[in-house]
Amino acid sequence: MSSRVCKNCGGTDIDIDQARGDAVCMGCGSVLEDNIIVSEVQFMDNGGGGSSAVGQFVSSDCSGKGPVLGTGFHTSLGKESRAQTLLNGKRQVNHLGHQLQLNKHCLDTAFNFFKMAVSKQLTRGRKMSHVIAACLYLVCRTEGTPHMLLDLSDLLQVNVYVLGKTFLLLARELCINAPAIDPCLYIPRFAHMLEFGDKNHEVSMTALRLLQRMKRDWMHTGRRPSGLCGAALLVAARMHEFRRTVKEIIRVVKVCESTLRKRLTEFEDTPTSSLTIDEFMKVDLTEECDPPSFTAGQKKVKLKQLEQELAKKLDEVAGEITCYQDEIETELENSRPKLKGPYASYAVEDPMMDDSISVASGAPGEEELDDLELEAAANHLNNNFYCEILDEKEDDEEEERTATEKDRSPVKRLPLASLLGPLPTAASLGLTDSIKECIADKKDNKENSENGELDLNGIDDSEIERYILSEKEVKIKTQMWMKENADYLKDQKEKEERIAKEKELGIYKEQKPKKSSKKREPIRASTAGEAIEKMLEQKKISSKINYDVLRDLNSKGSSSPTQDEEGSEEGGSAKKPSTSRKSANSRSLSTPVSNMRKRLRPLISTQPTKKLATEQGFGSTSSSDPSDSSKPVVVESGPVLYNNEDDAEEEEEEEEEPCVSAMLLIGGNDYGCDVDDDDGY
């Protein structure tokens, strides 16, 4: 495991110390490997006289950051966010996987899926538990284990469809084609749960045969496999003289009782059900059935057809009846014209004749023909309507309506109808033509939609008027609404009062229900170094940026760049205060100092150096104070208080102009170099 070439200086002279387990470059002094795994076995003596092997346990994870600190993996220092996510994920995968009794290979595969998902950022915006469950289910599907999505949702207490959605997304994004579920996979599992004892295998085989039959009979497409399994097992159990009730089966299979019954009835409809047990075991019918929903659909269609035929026949019969009715009517009305004659003319002359009078005129007629009189009354109404129309000449829709009514009116009213007939029709024709022209014009005018003008073509205003309530109705509705929503209105009033009060007092704050700002306690520290330490603890600095490279971009004869991991931590601390031009220049001084020291002493591991840095930070700040006398007010303004806003501003500034800050940092500081020389080991 020895590296031939140093990554930093390119030197080939590398010293490997087995005792310390290090690989160090002799040219630049950078540590290339730490905690090398050796194949030697050494023994040490214990206190009690026994001996034990020397060594450490290394976890199977790739993050070999060395021994874990006291609190385990809860420290945010020293662990990258990604590594933490993966570690957490692995833990959850193992936890769930053990509950499902998956073997190690499956769990590893599931963890790999999870890693892929994280790298594709599919965990964003989703509960991690859902993603983990989806990964596990994906493994189950690819391996063909008899685990259902329902099991997972049971464990997590989550809706199956939510999990299913996540699972489908995962499968699509990872381009993994999960093979389709075969209900045969579930049979052994359910059979085992139903405890058939010795005959377990036979019952399973029978159930399998049944399933195959169901598949060929098209009962299985689009159905939950567990439902089919349940039905098959029930029948198989009965065939082998096991008494398994429906309730027991549904408890095992997790479907509803009605589903099971439905499957059984569907199976009953197939021709296979008529075979005896022995015949079934031996013979396979070649005939295939249609899917049950298809046959149900066909039945519906047939029913509809039957209904239509019936309706037609009814119409025919009704037609015959109406014919008879008409004939009777004509006969009767022929005998009545004397009574109605004067009134008929009366009706024509006076268009505003009262309906009651017309009815009354009909009343003295023969009593046996009540319905005929009603018809006559209706006709009177129609005629009034015609007259109104003639007078006012309304929209053609109404005229169309009158036209149809005109058709329906009986033969008796011919003279009147003929009078009215040509007029409305001529009018309606004329109107429709003109309206058609209007429509054509308006269609050409497409600018209307752009302007936002409402195109009133084809809109019946009067119908819309109906949608709007009258004033009285509005009052009633308002009353009802107020009564129903009294509580809400009360709450609203109280809220308004409260706001008004607060405004008076000047305390009123705009309550934004959305964002809950993270309120951090302001850091109280006596020195800049301490402040940096505390701030680093609070804010998790990204360690993905190689701060050394950033710094070295503009600096001229700088020393060789340090390693990423070690430099990044200190770099984190350097980045934070680097652009603070307002306050705490001492801060910025101390950290580059410590960084430079870092470079010269690469042998020391990360944790202790941090502490050393702060110590040096102490030392440097104390000695840097005199140098910063130029800006005493700004620097020594009491304990260093950090606010979120300040930090944010600094970060923003920094991101915009990292190069400049690095320049300031290194270019303009002679002081740092001095201290460097003094305190170098």
Binding site: L149, G164, C175, N177, W218, G222, T286, E288, N457, I468
Partner: protein, 186 residues
């Protein structure tokens, strides 16, 4: 109702959803109190108004955005939307009919044969997905025309797409794929 090239398939449009903006603030309480066919959903901040003539249900927000659903054709949707705007105008709001857009069209089409779903899914792997535990139909998505088809084993297919033209294209594209996996009657 657009026939295919080879076979005359009836594509029946069952639902058209459209949106438009009125460019003016609407007082939902007023609409709720003065309209006779409205439901005021205070928790969601919207008013549901149902029209009878083109059978349409509209969700009205106070910002002036309106979603209209339930029409059976694009023209009907536009007519219904305009009717609705007219109704609001009558209630006293200065509505403008802007940015009318048909957002979604749902159509149903029946094949004269049954379809084997597992086969269909296997042959159209990334685009088709079939999860019998979740839904009885296989889901087939066409990305460029943004159409989603639900293929059932009975042969009926539900298509949703942004407009009617795309629906026809989707059915035309899918027909040969489905034809391959059809169930042959004995």
């Amino acid at each position: 109702m657009e026939p295919d090239n080879d076979v005359a398939l009836d594509i029946i449009i069952t639902n058209v959803v459209c949106v438009f903006k009125t460019r003016c603030h609407l007082n939902l309480r007023k609409i709720a109190l003065e309209g006779s066919n409205v439901i005021y959903k205070r928790d969601f901040g919207k008013v549901l108004m149902k029209l009878r003539k083109p059978k349409i249900t509209a969700s009205i927000w106070s910002s002036g955005k309106i979603i209209c659903a339930g029409a059976t054709s694009e023209e009907e949707a536009k007519l219904g939307a305009r009717r609705l705007a007219r109704c609001l105008q009558k209630l006293g709001f200065k509505v403008k009919f802007t940015e009318f857009k048909v957002v979604n069209v749902l159509a149903v089409c029946t094949m004269p044969f049954q379809i084997r779903l597992p086969e269909f899914t296997k042959s159209n792997r990334p685009l088709a997905s079939y999860e019998p535990e979740l839904h009885p139909a296989a889901l087939y998505r066409i990305k460029d025309i943004k159409a989603t088809l639900q293929v059932f084993s009975t042969g009926s297919i539900t298509v949703t797409a942004p407009n009617v033209q795309f629906i026809a294209t989707a059915v035309e594209q899918t027909y040969p794929l489905v034809f391959e996996c059809r169930k042959i009657h004995i």
